[in-house]
Protein backbone atom coordinates (compact mmCIF):
# COMPACT_ATOMS: atom_id res chain seq x y z
CA UNK A 1 0.00 0.00 0.00
CA UNK A 2 2.91 2.36 0.78
CA UNK A 3 4.28 1.65 -2.69
CA UNK A 4 0.86 2.48 -4.15
CA UNK A 5 0.74 5.82 -2.33
CA UNK A 6 4.29 6.60 -3.44
CA UNK A 7 3.32 5.85 -7.03
CA UNK A 8 0.24 8.06 -6.96
CA UNK A 9 1.50 10.94 -4.80
CA UNK A 10 5.32 10.84 -4.75
CA UNK A 11 6.35 10.36 -8.40
CA UNK A 12 7.33 6.71 -7.88
CA UNK A 13 10.14 7.67 -5.47
CA UNK A 14 9.93 4.34 -3.65
CA UNK A 15 11.54 4.38 -0.21
CA UNK A 16 11.09 2.17 2.88
CA UNK A 17 8.84 -0.24 0.97
CA UNK A 18 11.18 -2.29 -1.22
CA UNK A 19 12.58 -5.26 0.68
CA UNK A 20 15.26 -6.90 -1.43
CA UNK A 21 16.36 -9.18 1.43
CA UNK A 22 14.07 -12.22 1.24
CA UNK A 23 12.29 -14.01 4.05
CA UNK A 24 10.89 -17.54 3.77
CA UNK A 25 7.45 -17.22 5.38
CA UNK A 26 6.62 -20.91 4.97
CA UNK A 27 9.82 -21.86 6.80
CA UNK A 28 9.04 -19.24 9.47
CA UNK A 29 5.66 -20.72 10.41
CA UNK A 30 7.02 -24.26 10.08
CA UNK A 31 9.34 -23.36 12.98
CA UNK A 32 6.17 -23.20 15.12
CA UNK A 33 5.14 -26.64 13.86
CA UNK A 34 2.55 -25.21 11.46
CA UNK A 35 1.96 -26.72 8.02
CA UNK A 36 2.61 -24.29 5.18
CA UNK A 37 2.44 -24.29 1.40
CA UNK A 38 3.99 -21.77 -0.96
CA UNK A 39 2.13 -21.37 -4.26
CA UNK A 40 2.79 -19.49 -7.48
CA UNK A 41 -0.06 -20.40 -9.84
CA UNK A 42 -3.87 -20.66 -9.80
CA UNK A 43 -3.73 -24.45 -9.93
CA UNK A 44 -1.25 -24.67 -7.04
CA UNK A 45 -3.38 -22.31 -4.97
CA UNK A 46 -6.61 -24.20 -5.67
CA UNK A 47 -5.00 -27.48 -4.58
CA UNK A 48 -3.41 -25.98 -1.45
CA UNK A 49 -6.63 -24.21 -0.42
CA UNK A 50 -8.76 -27.33 -0.85
CA UNK A 51 -6.23 -29.37 1.16
CA UNK A 52 -6.03 -26.77 3.96
CA UNK A 53 -9.82 -26.65 4.31
CA UNK A 54 -9.93 -30.37 5.09
CA UNK A 55 -7.49 -30.07 8.02
CA UNK A 56 -8.48 -29.15 11.58
CA UNK A 57 -5.17 -27.50 12.45
CA UNK A 58 -3.40 -24.18 11.75
CA UNK A 59 -2.56 -23.85 8.06
CA UNK A 60 -0.64 -21.24 6.07
CA UNK A 61 -0.63 -20.64 2.32
CA UNK A 62 1.87 -18.15 0.93
CA UNK A 63 0.78 -16.57 -2.34
CA UNK A 64 3.70 -15.56 -4.53
CA UNK A 65 1.92 -13.05 -6.74
CA UNK A 66 2.96 -10.30 -9.11
CA UNK A 67 3.11 -6.89 -7.49
CA UNK A 68 0.13 -4.78 -8.48
CA UNK A 69 -2.02 -1.90 -7.30
CA UNK A 70 -5.45 -1.91 -5.69
CA UNK A 71 -7.99 -0.57 -8.15
CA UNK A 72 -10.19 1.33 -8.13
CA UNK A 73 -8.73 4.13 -6.03
CA UNK A 74 -10.53 7.44 -5.77
CA UNK A 75 -8.83 10.77 -6.25
CA UNK A 76 -8.44 12.71 -2.99
CA UNK A 77 -11.79 13.84 -1.70
CA UNK A 78 -13.86 12.92 -4.76
CA UNK A 79 -15.80 9.70 -4.55
CA UNK A 80 -16.50 9.11 -8.23
CA UNK A 81 -13.22 10.12 -9.88
CA UNK A 82 -10.61 7.42 -10.06
CA UNK A 83 -6.82 7.28 -10.25
CA UNK A 84 -5.41 5.84 -13.49
CA UNK A 85 -2.62 3.30 -13.05
Amino acid sequence: MIRQLQKVMYEERYIACDLPYPMDYALYVQSFGIEAASVASPDEFAAAFAAALTKDSPQVIVLNVERSFVEPMIKAGVIDEFVEF
Binding site: P42, D56, P58, L63
Partner: protein, 461 residues
Protein backbone atom coordinates in the same frame (compact mmCIF):
# COMPACT_ATOMS: atom_id res chain seq x y z
CA UNK B 1 -12.58 -13.04 50.20
CA UNK B 2 -9.42 -11.43 48.86
CA UNK B 3 -9.68 -8.67 46.23
CA UNK B 4 -8.18 -10.86 43.51
CA UNK B 5 -10.71 -13.65 44.15
CA UNK B 6 -13.52 -11.12 44.16
CA UNK B 7 -12.33 -9.81 40.78
CA UNK B 8 -12.48 -13.36 39.38
CA UNK B 9 -16.00 -13.86 40.79
CA UNK B 10 -17.01 -10.56 39.24
CA UNK B 11 -15.62 -11.66 35.83
CA UNK B 12 -17.65 -14.87 36.05
CA UNK B 13 -20.73 -12.90 36.94
CA UNK B 14 -20.20 -10.76 33.81
CA UNK B 15 -20.17 -13.87 31.64
CA UNK B 16 -16.42 -13.92 30.97
CA UNK B 17 -15.13 -17.31 29.83
CA UNK B 18 -11.85 -16.30 28.17
CA UNK B 19 -9.09 -13.89 29.20
CA UNK B 20 -6.07 -12.92 27.11
CA UNK B 21 -3.00 -11.67 28.87
CA UNK B 22 0.62 -11.72 29.91
CA UNK B 23 1.77 -11.87 33.53
CA UNK B 24 4.04 -9.54 35.48
CA UNK B 25 4.68 -8.58 39.09
CA UNK B 26 1.74 -6.26 39.69
CA UNK B 27 -0.91 -8.48 38.05
CA UNK B 28 0.37 -11.76 39.55
CA UNK B 29 -2.15 -11.84 42.40
CA UNK B 30 -4.94 -11.92 39.80
CA UNK B 31 -3.18 -14.74 37.92
CA UNK B 32 -2.86 -16.59 41.21
CA UNK B 33 -6.61 -16.29 41.77
CA UNK B 34 -7.21 -17.72 38.27
CA UNK B 35 -5.13 -20.81 39.15
CA UNK B 36 -8.11 -22.72 40.57
CA UNK B 37 -10.82 -21.19 38.37
CA UNK B 38 -11.45 -23.66 35.56
CA UNK B 39 -14.49 -21.82 34.17
CA UNK B 40 -12.22 -19.11 32.76
CA UNK B 41 -9.79 -19.96 29.96
CA UNK B 42 -6.61 -18.02 30.51
CA UNK B 43 -4.81 -17.53 27.18
CA UNK B 44 -1.15 -16.58 27.52
CA UNK B 45 -0.13 -14.54 24.48
CA UNK B 46 3.41 -13.71 23.36
CA UNK B 47 2.96 -9.95 23.76
CA UNK B 48 0.46 -7.68 25.49
CA UNK B 49 -0.43 -5.92 22.22
CA UNK B 50 -1.58 -9.26 20.89
CA UNK B 51 -3.61 -9.90 24.05
CA UNK B 52 -5.53 -6.66 23.39
CA UNK B 53 -6.05 -7.50 19.69
CA UNK B 54 -7.12 -11.06 20.61
CA UNK B 55 -9.67 -9.75 23.14
CA UNK B 56 -10.88 -7.35 20.42
CA UNK B 57 -11.16 -10.21 17.86
CA UNK B 58 -13.00 -12.30 20.45
CA UNK B 59 -15.46 -9.44 21.04
CA UNK B 60 -16.05 -8.82 17.32
CA UNK B 61 -16.69 -12.53 16.73
CA UNK B 62 -18.91 -13.17 19.75
CA UNK B 63 -20.61 -9.84 20.39
CA UNK B 64 -19.53 -10.22 24.03
CA UNK B 65 -17.04 -8.06 25.95
CA UNK B 66 -13.43 -9.14 25.27
CA UNK B 67 -11.10 -9.15 28.27
CA UNK B 68 -7.34 -8.68 28.43
CA UNK B 69 -5.04 -8.33 31.42
CA UNK B 70 -1.50 -7.03 31.76
CA UNK B 71 0.93 -5.90 34.36
CA UNK B 72 1.92 -2.31 35.14
CA UNK B 73 4.45 -0.23 33.17
CA UNK B 74 5.46 -1.89 29.87
CA UNK B 75 2.68 -4.46 30.11
CA UNK B 76 0.11 -1.71 30.30
CA UNK B 77 1.68 0.53 27.63
CA UNK B 78 1.90 -2.44 25.25
CA UNK B 79 -1.91 -2.61 25.33
CA UNK B 80 -2.28 0.90 23.96
CA UNK B 81 -2.37 0.13 20.21
CA UNK B 82 -4.91 -2.63 20.83
CA UNK B 83 -7.13 -0.34 22.90
CA UNK B 84 -6.89 2.42 20.29
CA UNK B 85 -7.86 -0.10 17.60
CA UNK B 86 -10.94 -1.19 19.58
CA UNK B 87 -11.82 2.43 20.36
CA UNK B 88 -11.82 3.56 16.74
CA UNK B 89 -14.03 0.62 15.72
CA UNK B 90 -16.34 0.83 18.81
CA UNK B 91 -15.55 -2.67 20.11
CA UNK B 92 -16.39 -3.64 23.73
CA UNK B 93 -13.19 -4.58 25.58
CA UNK B 94 -12.29 -4.44 29.25
CA UNK B 95 -8.57 -4.22 30.05
CA UNK B 96 -7.40 -4.84 33.60
CA UNK B 97 -3.91 -3.63 34.44
CA UNK B 98 -1.95 -4.22 37.61
CA UNK B 99 -0.44 -1.11 39.18
CA UNK B 100 2.26 -0.52 41.79
CA UNK B 101 1.09 -0.57 45.41
CA UNK B 102 -0.94 2.44 46.54
CA UNK B 103 1.90 3.39 48.95
CA UNK B 104 4.29 3.70 45.97
CA UNK B 105 2.03 5.59 43.57
CA UNK B 106 3.69 8.68 42.12
CA UNK B 107 7.17 7.77 43.32
CA UNK B 108 8.47 6.39 39.99
CA UNK B 109 8.42 2.89 41.45
CA UNK B 110 9.68 0.00 39.36
CA UNK B 111 7.34 -0.52 36.35
CA UNK B 112 5.12 2.39 37.34
CA UNK B 113 3.33 4.19 34.53
CA UNK B 114 0.40 6.56 34.61
CA UNK B 115 -1.66 4.30 32.35
CA UNK B 116 -4.78 6.34 33.05
CA UNK B 117 -3.16 9.40 31.51
CA UNK B 118 -1.71 7.33 28.66
CA UNK B 119 -5.01 5.68 27.66
CA UNK B 120 -7.35 8.59 28.37
CA UNK B 121 -7.91 9.41 24.69
CA UNK B 122 -8.07 5.83 23.37
CA UNK B 123 -10.63 4.40 25.80
CA UNK B 124 -14.33 5.04 26.23
CA UNK B 125 -13.58 5.42 29.92
CA UNK B 126 -10.84 4.42 32.34
CA UNK B 127 -10.51 4.00 36.09
CA UNK B 128 -7.83 3.73 38.74
CA UNK B 129 -9.11 1.95 41.82
CA UNK B 130 -7.59 3.24 45.06
CA UNK B 131 -9.99 1.76 47.58
CA UNK B 132 -10.86 -1.94 47.76
CA UNK B 133 -14.43 -1.01 48.75
CA UNK B 134 -14.88 0.44 45.27
CA UNK B 135 -13.16 -2.40 43.40
CA UNK B 136 -16.20 -4.45 42.41
CA UNK B 137 -18.52 -1.54 41.71
CA UNK B 138 -15.84 -0.08 39.42
CA UNK B 139 -15.34 -3.34 37.57
CA UNK B 140 -19.09 -3.78 37.07
CA UNK B 141 -19.37 -0.23 35.79
CA UNK B 142 -16.49 -0.90 33.39
CA UNK B 143 -18.34 -3.84 31.82
CA UNK B 144 -21.58 -1.89 31.67
CA UNK B 145 -19.85 1.04 29.93
CA UNK B 146 -17.98 -1.21 27.50
CA UNK B 147 -21.11 -2.91 26.21
CA UNK B 148 -23.79 -0.21 26.49
CA UNK B 149 -24.71 2.52 24.01
CA UNK B 150 -21.87 2.88 21.54
CA UNK B 151 -19.53 0.12 22.71
CA UNK B 152 -15.84 0.71 23.39
CA UNK B 153 -12.80 -0.26 25.42
CA UNK B 154 -12.61 0.50 29.14
CA UNK B 155 -9.48 0.17 31.27
CA UNK B 156 -9.39 -0.56 34.99
CA UNK B 157 -6.06 -0.01 36.75
CA UNK B 158 -5.73 -1.89 40.05
CA UNK B 159 -2.80 -1.37 42.45
CA UNK B 160 -1.30 -4.68 43.56
CA UNK B 161 -2.05 -4.32 47.27
CA UNK B 162 -5.80 -4.09 46.62
CA UNK B 163 -5.72 -7.67 45.31
CA UNK B 164 -4.76 -8.78 48.85
CA UNK B 165 -7.31 -6.66 50.75
CA UNK B 166 -10.48 -8.21 52.11
CA UNK B 167 -13.40 -7.60 49.78
CA UNK B 168 -17.03 -8.38 50.29
CA UNK B 169 -18.49 -10.03 47.20
CA UNK B 170 -22.24 -9.81 46.84
CA UNK B 171 -23.49 -11.38 43.59
CA UNK B 172 -25.27 -8.99 41.24
CA UNK B 173 -26.72 -9.53 37.78
CA UNK B 174 -24.96 -7.71 34.94
CA UNK B 175 -26.64 -4.39 34.32
CA UNK B 176 -28.71 -4.23 31.13
CA UNK B 177 -29.34 -0.68 30.03
CA UNK B 178 -32.68 -0.22 28.33
CA UNK B 179 -32.99 2.36 25.55
CA UNK B 180 -35.13 5.34 26.41
CA UNK B 181 -38.50 6.04 24.79
CA UNK B 182 -38.37 8.36 21.76
CA UNK B 183 -39.65 11.87 22.47
CA UNK B 184 -41.91 14.05 20.31
CA UNK B 185 -38.98 15.71 18.49
CA UNK B 186 -37.61 12.32 17.58
CA UNK B 187 -40.96 11.19 16.21
CA UNK B 188 -41.18 14.32 14.05
CA UNK B 189 -37.69 13.63 12.66
CA UNK B 190 -38.61 10.01 11.99
CA UNK B 191 -41.74 11.06 10.12
CA UNK B 192 -39.68 13.52 8.05
CA UNK B 193 -37.15 10.77 7.33
CA UNK B 194 -39.87 8.40 6.15
CA UNK B 195 -41.25 11.15 3.90
CA UNK B 196 -37.77 11.75 2.41
CA UNK B 197 -37.37 8.03 1.74
CA UNK B 198 -40.76 7.83 0.05
CA UNK B 199 -40.11 10.78 -2.29
CA UNK B 200 -36.48 10.03 -3.18
CA UNK B 201 -35.68 9.19 -6.80
CA UNK B 202 -32.10 8.00 -6.32
CA UNK B 203 -31.76 6.78 -2.72
CA UNK B 204 -28.85 4.73 -1.39
CA UNK B 205 -28.07 3.17 2.00
CA UNK B 206 -24.56 3.29 3.45
CA UNK B 207 -24.42 0.38 5.92
CA UNK B 208 -21.70 0.62 8.56
CA UNK B 209 -20.29 -1.43 11.41
CA UNK B 210 -22.92 -0.02 13.79
CA UNK B 211 -25.50 -2.30 12.16
CA UNK B 212 -23.47 -5.32 13.22
CA UNK B 213 -22.84 -4.17 16.79
CA UNK B 214 -26.57 -3.39 17.13
CA UNK B 215 -27.42 -6.90 15.85
CA UNK B 216 -29.75 -5.15 13.43
CA UNK B 217 -28.84 -6.92 10.17
CA UNK B 218 -32.28 -8.54 9.80
CA UNK B 219 -33.99 -5.15 10.28
CA UNK B 220 -31.61 -3.51 7.79
CA UNK B 221 -32.42 -6.15 5.20
CA UNK B 222 -36.17 -5.81 5.76
CA UNK B 223 -35.87 -2.00 5.54
CA UNK B 224 -33.86 -2.11 2.29
CA UNK B 225 -36.25 -4.64 0.76
CA UNK B 226 -39.37 -2.77 1.80
CA UNK B 227 -38.33 0.46 0.06
CA UNK B 228 -36.21 -1.27 -2.62
CA UNK B 229 -33.11 0.64 -1.52
CA UNK B 230 -29.70 -0.12 -3.07
CA UNK B 231 -27.16 -0.68 -0.31
CA UNK B 232 -23.44 -0.06 -0.21
CA UNK B 233 -21.29 -1.00 2.76
CA UNK B 234 -18.34 0.64 4.43
CA UNK B 235 -15.24 -1.39 5.30
CA UNK B 236 -16.61 -1.91 8.81
CA UNK B 237 -20.07 -2.64 7.41
CA UNK B 238 -19.05 -5.75 5.48
CA UNK B 239 -21.44 -8.49 6.61
CA UNK B 240 -24.13 -5.99 7.65
CA UNK B 241 -25.96 -6.74 4.39
CA UNK B 242 -25.63 -9.99 2.41
CA UNK B 243 -23.21 -9.45 -0.46
CA UNK B 244 -25.15 -11.78 -2.77
CA UNK B 245 -28.38 -9.80 -2.25
CA UNK B 246 -29.79 -8.15 -5.40
CA UNK B 247 -29.69 -4.74 -3.66
CA UNK B 248 -26.04 -5.03 -2.57
CA UNK B 249 -23.53 -2.83 -4.40
CA UNK B 250 -20.61 -3.85 -2.20
CA UNK B 251 -17.76 -1.80 -0.79
CA UNK B 252 -17.80 1.99 -1.08
CA UNK B 253 -14.96 4.35 -0.29
CA UNK B 254 -11.33 5.04 -1.13
CA UNK B 255 -10.97 1.61 -2.75
CA UNK B 256 -14.68 1.08 -3.19
CA UNK B 257 -16.24 -0.61 -6.20
CA UNK B 258 -17.21 1.82 -8.92
CA UNK B 259 -20.97 1.06 -8.88
CA UNK B 260 -21.03 1.66 -5.10
CA UNK B 261 -19.08 4.92 -5.27
CA UNK B 262 -21.01 6.23 -8.26
CA UNK B 263 -24.27 5.41 -6.48
CA UNK B 264 -23.24 7.68 -3.58
CA UNK B 265 -22.13 10.41 -5.95
CA UNK B 266 -25.37 10.34 -7.97
CA UNK B 267 -27.77 9.79 -5.07
CA UNK B 268 -30.39 12.38 -4.14
CA UNK B 269 -30.80 10.75 -0.71
CA UNK B 270 -28.03 9.07 1.30
CA UNK B 271 -29.19 7.04 4.32
CA UNK B 272 -26.20 6.28 6.54
CA UNK B 273 -26.96 3.54 9.07
CA UNK B 274 -24.39 2.81 11.78
CA UNK B 275 -21.70 4.66 9.86
CA UNK B 276 -19.92 7.78 11.02
CA UNK B 277 -19.39 9.23 7.53
CA UNK B 278 -15.66 8.66 7.83
CA UNK B 279 -13.48 10.42 5.28
CA UNK B 280 -12.62 7.17 3.52
CA UNK B 281 -16.11 5.85 2.77
CA UNK B 282 -17.49 9.15 1.59
CA UNK B 283 -14.49 10.89 0.05
CA UNK B 284 -15.20 14.14 1.92
CA UNK B 285 -18.63 13.99 0.31
CA UNK B 286 -19.76 16.75 2.66
CA UNK B 287 -17.72 19.28 0.71
CA UNK B 288 -19.49 18.57 -2.51
CA UNK B 289 -21.82 21.24 -3.81
CA UNK B 290 -24.49 18.76 -4.84
CA UNK B 291 -27.91 19.05 -3.38
CA UNK B 292 -28.01 15.66 -1.67
CA UNK B 293 -30.19 14.96 1.31
CA UNK B 294 -28.85 12.92 4.20
CA UNK B 295 -30.49 10.78 6.84
CA UNK B 296 -28.11 9.70 9.56
CA UNK B 297 -29.06 6.84 11.89
CA UNK B 298 -26.59 6.10 14.69
CA UNK B 299 -26.50 5.00 18.31
CA UNK B 300 -24.23 7.92 19.18
CA UNK B 301 -25.80 11.43 19.04
CA UNK B 302 -22.28 12.90 18.89
CA UNK B 303 -21.86 11.45 15.37
CA UNK B 304 -24.89 13.29 13.98
CA UNK B 305 -23.68 16.39 12.11
CA UNK B 306 -20.02 15.67 13.00
CA UNK B 307 -18.64 14.82 9.56
CA UNK B 308 -21.66 15.58 7.42
CA UNK B 309 -24.30 18.17 8.16
CA UNK B 310 -27.17 15.73 7.95
CA UNK B 311 -30.57 16.81 6.82
CA UNK B 312 -32.16 14.50 9.38
CA UNK B 313 -30.41 12.81 12.29
CA UNK B 314 -31.90 9.90 14.20
CA UNK B 315 -29.83 8.88 17.20
CA UNK B 316 -30.83 5.82 19.15
CA UNK B 317 -31.31 2.10 19.15
CA UNK B 318 -31.11 0.98 15.56
CA UNK B 319 -33.59 -1.90 15.50
CA UNK B 320 -36.35 0.32 16.87
CA UNK B 321 -35.54 3.15 14.47
CA UNK B 322 -35.58 0.89 11.41
CA UNK B 323 -38.86 -0.69 12.52
CA UNK B 324 -40.33 2.77 12.99
CA UNK B 325 -39.27 3.82 9.46
CA UNK B 326 -40.86 0.68 8.04
CA UNK B 327 -44.34 1.67 9.18
CA UNK B 328 -45.05 3.54 5.93
CA UNK B 329 -45.58 2.12 2.45
CA UNK B 330 -43.31 2.87 -0.53
CA UNK B 331 -44.84 5.09 -3.21
CA UNK B 332 -41.84 6.15 -5.33
CA UNK B 333 -40.89 4.54 -8.62
CA UNK B 334 -37.19 3.66 -8.57
CA UNK B 335 -37.11 1.71 -11.85
CA UNK B 336 -34.86 4.21 -13.67
CA UNK B 337 -32.40 4.31 -10.75
CA UNK B 338 -32.16 0.54 -10.56
CA UNK B 339 -31.69 0.35 -14.33
CA UNK B 340 -28.79 2.81 -14.09
CA UNK B 341 -27.21 0.80 -11.23
CA UNK B 342 -27.62 -2.48 -13.10
CA UNK B 343 -25.82 -0.92 -16.07
CA UNK B 344 -22.90 0.12 -13.84
CA UNK B 345 -22.73 -3.31 -12.27
CA UNK B 346 -22.36 -4.82 -15.72
CA UNK B 347 -19.98 -2.15 -17.02
CA UNK B 348 -17.64 -2.39 -14.02
CA UNK B 349 -17.82 -6.14 -13.34
CA UNK B 350 -14.32 -7.34 -12.37
CA UNK B 351 -12.49 -9.51 -14.88
CA UNK B 352 -11.16 -12.62 -13.16
CA UNK B 353 -10.13 -14.28 -16.39
CA UNK B 354 -7.00 -12.32 -17.27
CA UNK B 355 -4.95 -15.48 -16.83
CA UNK B 356 -2.51 -13.92 -14.36
CA UNK B 357 -2.09 -15.19 -10.79
CA UNK B 358 -3.06 -12.13 -8.79
CA UNK B 359 -4.79 -11.43 -5.47
CA UNK B 360 -8.22 -10.45 -6.89
CA UNK B 361 -8.30 -13.81 -8.68
CA UNK B 362 -7.39 -15.64 -5.46
CA UNK B 363 -10.06 -13.72 -3.50
CA UNK B 364 -12.72 -14.55 -6.08
CA UNK B 365 -11.61 -18.18 -6.03
CA UNK B 366 -11.94 -18.28 -2.23
CA UNK B 367 -15.33 -16.55 -2.39
CA UNK B 368 -16.60 -19.38 -4.60
CA UNK B 369 -14.90 -22.14 -2.61
CA UNK B 370 -16.27 -20.79 0.69
CA UNK B 371 -19.86 -20.25 -0.49
CA UNK B 372 -22.26 -22.05 1.85
CA UNK B 373 -19.45 -22.84 4.29
CA UNK B 374 -19.38 -21.52 7.85
CA UNK B 375 -16.39 -19.17 7.97
CA UNK B 376 -15.23 -15.74 9.09
CA UNK B 377 -12.52 -13.64 7.49
CA UNK B 378 -10.04 -11.72 9.64
CA UNK B 379 -7.67 -9.41 7.80
CA UNK B 380 -4.61 -7.39 8.52
CA UNK B 381 -4.18 -3.90 7.04
CA UNK B 382 -2.97 -2.99 3.57
CA UNK B 383 -3.54 -3.94 -0.05
CA UNK B 384 -4.68 -7.50 0.75
CA UNK B 385 -7.34 -6.03 3.07
CA UNK B 386 -8.78 -3.90 0.28
CA UNK B 387 -8.74 -6.74 -2.25
CA UNK B 388 -10.46 -8.99 0.30
CA UNK B 389 -13.05 -6.29 1.01
CA UNK B 390 -13.75 -5.86 -2.70
CA UNK B 391 -13.80 -9.44 -3.91
CA UNK B 392 -14.78 -11.79 -1.09
CA UNK B 393 -18.51 -12.27 -0.57
CA UNK B 394 -19.47 -12.02 3.08
CA UNK B 395 -23.10 -12.88 3.70
CA UNK B 396 -23.36 -12.83 7.48
CA UNK B 397 -22.65 -10.43 10.34
CA UNK B 398 -19.41 -11.12 12.24
CA UNK B 399 -18.10 -12.88 9.13
CA UNK B 400 -15.69 -10.00 8.50
CA UNK B 401 -13.24 -8.70 11.11
CA UNK B 402 -10.81 -5.93 10.25
CA UNK B 403 -9.12 -2.90 11.78
CA UNK B 404 -11.09 -0.17 10.02
CA UNK B 405 -10.62 3.14 11.81
CA UNK B 406 -7.12 2.89 13.21
CA UNK B 407 -5.77 0.72 10.37
CA UNK B 408 -3.52 -1.27 12.66
CA UNK B 409 -0.94 -3.39 10.83
CA UNK B 410 -0.34 -6.54 12.85
CA UNK B 411 -3.96 -6.69 14.04
CA UNK B 412 -4.88 -9.65 11.86
CA UNK B 413 -3.14 -12.64 13.39
CA UNK B 414 -3.89 -12.06 17.11
CA UNK B 415 -7.46 -11.00 16.24
CA UNK B 416 -7.84 -14.19 14.18
CA UNK B 417 -6.76 -16.17 17.23
CA UNK B 418 -9.30 -14.42 19.46
CA UNK B 419 -12.04 -14.88 16.85
CA UNK B 420 -11.30 -18.58 16.41
CA UNK B 421 -11.47 -19.08 20.19
CA UNK B 422 -14.85 -17.32 20.23
CA UNK B 423 -16.25 -19.26 17.26
CA UNK B 424 -14.97 -22.65 18.40
CA UNK B 425 -15.95 -25.18 15.77
CA UNK B 426 -18.94 -23.15 14.53
CA UNK B 427 -16.88 -21.14 12.03
CA UNK B 428 -13.44 -21.54 10.47
CA UNK B 429 -11.33 -18.39 10.60
CA UNK B 430 -9.67 -17.43 7.31
CA UNK B 431 -6.88 -14.98 8.11
CA UNK B 432 -5.69 -12.81 5.24
CA UNK B 433 -2.47 -10.85 5.60
CA UNK B 434 0.40 -9.20 3.83
CA UNK B 435 4.01 -9.97 4.60
CA UNK B 436 4.51 -6.76 6.63
CA UNK B 437 1.88 -7.51 9.26
CA UNK B 438 3.29 -10.99 9.76
CA UNK B 439 6.68 -9.46 10.56
CA UNK B 440 4.94 -7.33 13.22
CA UNK B 441 2.89 -9.88 15.16
CA UNK B 442 3.75 -13.26 13.60
CA UNK B 443 5.08 -14.34 17.00
CA UNK B 444 1.47 -15.16 17.91
CA UNK B 445 1.71 -18.25 15.69
CA UNK B 446 3.39 -19.74 18.74
CA UNK B 447 0.12 -19.52 20.70
CA UNK B 448 -2.03 -20.58 17.75
CA UNK B 449 0.18 -23.66 17.25
CA UNK B 450 0.27 -24.40 20.99
CA UNK B 451 -3.54 -24.33 21.15
CA UNK B 452 -3.93 -26.13 17.81
CA UNK B 453 -6.38 -23.49 16.54
CA UNK B 454 -7.48 -24.19 12.93
CA UNK B 455 -6.77 -20.64 11.68
CA UNK B 456 -6.11 -20.75 7.93
CA UNK B 457 -3.73 -17.96 6.91
CA UNK B 458 -3.38 -16.64 3.38
CA UNK B 459 -0.38 -14.32 2.83
CA UNK B 460 -0.20 -12.08 -0.16
CA UNK B 461 3.43 -11.25 -0.84
Amino acid sequence: MKGAEAVVQCLLEQGVDTIFGYPGGMILPLYDALYDEKRIRQILTTHEQNAAHAADGYARASGKVGVCIATSGPGATNLVTGLATAFMDSIPVVAITGQVDTSLLGRDAFQETDILGVTMSVTKHNFKVKDEKKLLATLRLAFSLARSGRPGPVLVDIPRDLFFKDCEFKPALPEQKKPGKPDADFMICAAEAAAEIRKARRPVIIAGGGVISANATAELRAFAEKYNLPTVNTLMGIGAFPRSHRLSLGLAGMHGLKPANRAIAEADLVIAIGSRFGDRPTGHRANSAQNTHFIHIDIDPAEIDKNVASSIGLAGEMKSILKLLMQREPVNDLADWHKLLAGWKEEYAPDYHSGSFDVPWAMNYMAKALANKEFAVVTDVGQHQMWAAQHLRIEKPRGWITSGGLGTMGFGLPAAMGAQLAFGSSRRVIHIAGDGGIKMTGNEYYTIARLGLPVLSIYCQ
